[in-house]
């Protein structure tokens, strides 16, 4: 049987053995409904157990399998082989992060940035009241899209600012800060806003918009950044600050 195959060219790097990253080719079976992640799993199970990458849900929600596919940041679980015929498909780690091994990036910096923007509800009273806070569907719409971020890091890989300025807090963290700033239950006022309009934050963004273009979940971090800049400007001009 001569089944159809496709070549996956995988960026390999082992800090214990390799001076430099290198590409390694694997011939994998082609299936119409296979994604790049299926091909990697096949390689790992049947050809080379030493290929390393992260994955879990294989349904585009856990955010683990961000990788560059033919140079574009993608979720491995939603990049279909059929869209890259006849191949080869070059699979590399995301840009703008240190590489730990093969396709695995070190994203601890994002976790620090995330904590830095205070992605939690800030309110005066913290005790649990007897009922829920009311929040209308329209109020949810204010922030809903920014709450859809899966932390997959595709936007950091695409961001030209992060590439030259690693300290930039970055699109996803700003979108999540905005998500809380726009939440009717939040009373942070200027607290969070001051953070993301300070150093290494929204004013570093040159508004290229790549972040929004690559987001697999329809989040628009560029819009979050623009809104934040606008609100902070209004805050400087108007005594009562921005609006919720």
């Amino acid at each position: 049987m001569t089944a159809k195959t496709i070549t996956l060219s995988v960026k390999r790097y082992d800090p214990e053995r390799d001076e430099q990253p290198r590409l390694q080719d694997y011939e994998v079976p082609f299936h119409e409904d296979w994604v790049v992640l299926d091909a990697l799993n096949w390689i790992k199970a049947h050809r080379d157990g030493s290929v390393n990458y992260r994955w879990s849900c294989r349904m585009g929600i856990c955010g683990s399998c961000g990788m560059n596919v033919n140079g574009e940041p993608k979720l491995g679980c939603s990049a279909f082989l059929r869209d890259y015929l006849p191949g080869p498909i070059v699979v590399e780690p995301l840009n703008n992060f240190p590489v730990l091994r093969d396709l695995v990036i070190d994203m601890d910096s994002f976790l620090e940035k995330l904590r830095w923007v205070k992605p939690w509800i800030i309110r005066e009273e913290t005790a649990l009241g007897p009922g829920e806070h009311r929040q209308t569907p329209a109020q949810i719409e204010h922030f809903r899209q920014f709450s859809m971020c899966i932390n997959c890091m595709l936007c950091y890989s695409a961001c030209p600012v992060i590439a030259i300025e690693p300290e930039f807090v970055g699109p996803a963290a700003i979108a999540l800060a905005r998500r809380y700033d726009l939440d009717s239950r939040d009373q942070a006022g200027q607290e969070r806003l001051r953070t993301i309009t300070g150093d290494d934050a929204v004013w570093d963004c040159s508004f290229i918009g790549e972040c929004s273009a690559v987001c697999p979940k329809g989040v628009d971090p560029a819009k979050a950044i623009q809104q934040t800049k606008f609100e902070s400007t209004m805050g400087m001009l108007l005594p009562w600050g921005g609006t919720k």
């Binding site: 409904d33 349904m59 929600i61 695995v104 649990l128």
Partner: protein, 572 residues
């Protein structure tokens, strides 16, 4: 050995139960130190894939009693009713707590939290955040946890054993996946919250990380695994990948059709139709397939799940992720096309033997969430009861663990632990990293386990199938002992992680198969073709499996806590 990090409470697992436990611990005692140890970044935990919602009695006319009754009947009377009682009372508090932490629950026009119908629930009580409930709950609680400096995370740390000294659990040994360095983390108490083990099956909704690690850790330390024969098959998985199509599709009014165009649920659960419990509907589907009334495709038989009559507006508001998944992974638009579905392994009712507070029989060791069995779900969990279970019992395990920790002295940080670490280091090096020859690959052995489990421990079971599977397991274990390892590096060696996960899966599978083989009746998700009836006289009892190295697990049986609801025939 110097400077072993030491904490009051150590939590293994960063999903909904683990994070809830961590926050509960530091809320009870703000001076407490908590280690949050997870093999993935917490927001990758499989809670993220939960879709349909979270059950809780929020308002009239719903009542604690009906939620309790639905849960007990759904469990086929194997739930412990004292546990169910606590669960239904605390679930609404937890839903409101998540709301206060920012969870974007879907709302009514007046701003109150919306509820939707769900399988086996007699009234609308499932709160939801569209059809990404687990995703929103997990990100909300993870982001909330970032404000507590007392919670120190060890992300991508794989735990390989529990530290048991003086009969108490006093920490864990494992390795930082990034460096491969084996190290201990000591603690006055430990909470296991590692989730389920669905990856023991080939066709499962579960993510790759669901490999039963916490169950295996407890089991090897002498703690029993309870009710492991009860494995939930969700009726509506995508035929190709097993990706979950949420029960909320039926909650919102979707119909299930067989190939003859009949809503076949009428034959099996006439009063509930598509909203019957998962075990019964999965059996109904397989029965229909066997009678030749299923559609046939490249992945075998399937049914049609149809939401076209709901209209685009409702689908986009309440089931947008389902539309997205259909378009992406099946090339169908659920607004215009019926969704092919077939039963898929989904959830482990069984787990680490734990009481109503999450305490296991081992002092200092607690368990919560899917990895635990506190007695809530019995023989079949109702859809939307697992997210509140993670919250309610995660919180109580966190509280119990920190209270226990306050009364204890610090764990030893000298010789005994140093010796354990050396042993573990040697075991990993000799068993895996030093081995290169061998025919089998880890991935192939894992696939063989998964396929065999799909075949023999599925919706219906037989004596022959279970006996065959029981004979297969030692062979798989022996193959693992001889498998080749391609990756001999320390840094981010996921082949090593997979080998260790496979050990965990095999330990879990032992208990699942033997517990199922011995339970000679049909109850909830455990359906024996050779014993089709429920037998309360003999089998109204929990199974607890204990490890006997080199041998089959030893089984003990324990009475079920009956309360207000006496067992009766389970018809819908």
């Amino acid at each position: 050995m110097v400077d072993i990090p030491t904490y009051d409470v150590l939590i293994v697992g960063g999903g909904l139960a683990g994070l809830r436990a961590a926050i509960a611990a530091v809320s009870v005692d703000p001076t407490a130190t908590v280690a949050m140890v997870s093999k993935v970044y917490p927001m990758r935990s499989h809670t993220v894939s939960a879709e349909g919602g979270c059950a809780a009695v929020l308002r009239e006319p719903d009542s604690f009693e009906t939620h309790a009754f639905d849960t007990v009947k759904g469990s086929d009377y194997l739930a412990d009713q004292d546990v169910v009682e606590v669960f239904v009372r605390e679930a609404p508090l937890e839903v409101r707590q998540l709301e206060h932490w920012g969870c974007p629950w879907s709302r009514e026009p007046d701003g109150s939290i919306s509820v939707r119908p769900f399988g086996g629930m007699t009234t609308w009580r499932t709160c939801f955040a569209a059809d990404k409930s687990g995703f929103h709950m997990l990100h909300t609680i993870f982001q909330t946890s970032l404000q507590f400096p007392q919670i120190q995370r060890f992300d991508e740390f794989f735990v390989t054993s529990l530290i048991v000294e003086d009969g108490r659990c006093q920490g864990v040994i494992g390795f930082d996946i990034r460096t491969g360095v084996v190290q201990p983390i000591a603690a006055r108490s430990v909470v296991l919250a590692t989730g389920g083990n669905g990856r023991i099956f080939a066709f499962t909704t579960n993510g790759s990380i669901c490999t039963g690690d916490g169950m295996a850790l407890a089991y090897r330390a002498g703690v029993g695994l309870k009710d492991m024969e009860f494995i939930q098959f969700h009726p509506t998985g995508m035929p190709s990948t097993g990706i979950l199509i949420t029960e909320a599709v039926r909650g919102e009014g979707g119909y299930l059709y067989n190939s003859e165009g009949d809503r076949f649920c009428a034959t099996y659960v006439p009063s509930k139709m598509e909203l019957g419990p998962r075990d019964i509907i999965s059996r109904a589907m397989v029965t229909e397939f066997e009678a030749g009334r299923g559609f046939t495709g490249p992945y075998g038989n399937y049914m049609h799940l149809d939401v076209r009559h709901l209209g685009e507006e409702v689908i986009d508001r309440k089931l947008p992720f389902m539309r997205e998944l259909g378009l992406e992974y099946m090339g169908i638009d659920i607004v215009k096309d019926p969704i092919p579905v077939r039963p898929v392994e989904h959830y482990m009712m069984g787990g680490v033997d734990a009481d109503i507070t999450g305490a296991t029989p081992m002092p200092g060791l607690y368990a919560a969430g899917e990895c635990a069995n506190v007695g809530l779900n019995g023989a079949n969990r109702l859809g939307s009861n697992s997210l509140p279970e993670c919250l309610v019992f995660g919180a109580s395990a966190g509280r119990a663990a920190v209270r226990y920790a306050r009364e204890r002295t610090a764990p030893p940080t000298d010789n005994p632990i140093a010796g354990l670490v050396r042993d573990e280091e040697r075991r990993i090096q000799a068993t895996y990293l030093d081995r290169s020859a061998g025919e089998d690959r880890i991935g192939v052995i894992r696939e063989d386990l998964q396929r065999a489990m799909d075949r023999h421990v599925s919706v219906f079971r037989t004596e022959e199938g279970l006996v065959e599977m029981a004979a297969e397991l030692p062979k798989l274990r022996e193959r693992l002992g001889r498998a080749r390892i391609d990756d001999h590096s320390r840094a981010f060696n996921t082949e090593l992680v997979q080998a260790l996960e496979l050990e965990c899966m095999l330990d879990c599978a032992d208990t699942m198969v033997i517990s199922a083989l011995e339970r000679r009746e049909s109850r909830g998700a455990h359906a024996r073709r050779d014993f089709p009836d429920r037998n309360d006289e003999r089998w109204l009892t929990h199974t607890v499996a204990y490890q006997r190295p080199g041998d089959r697990p030893r089984l003990e049986y324990r009475p079920v806590q009956i309360g207000n609801f006496q067992p009766q025939a389970r018809t819908y």
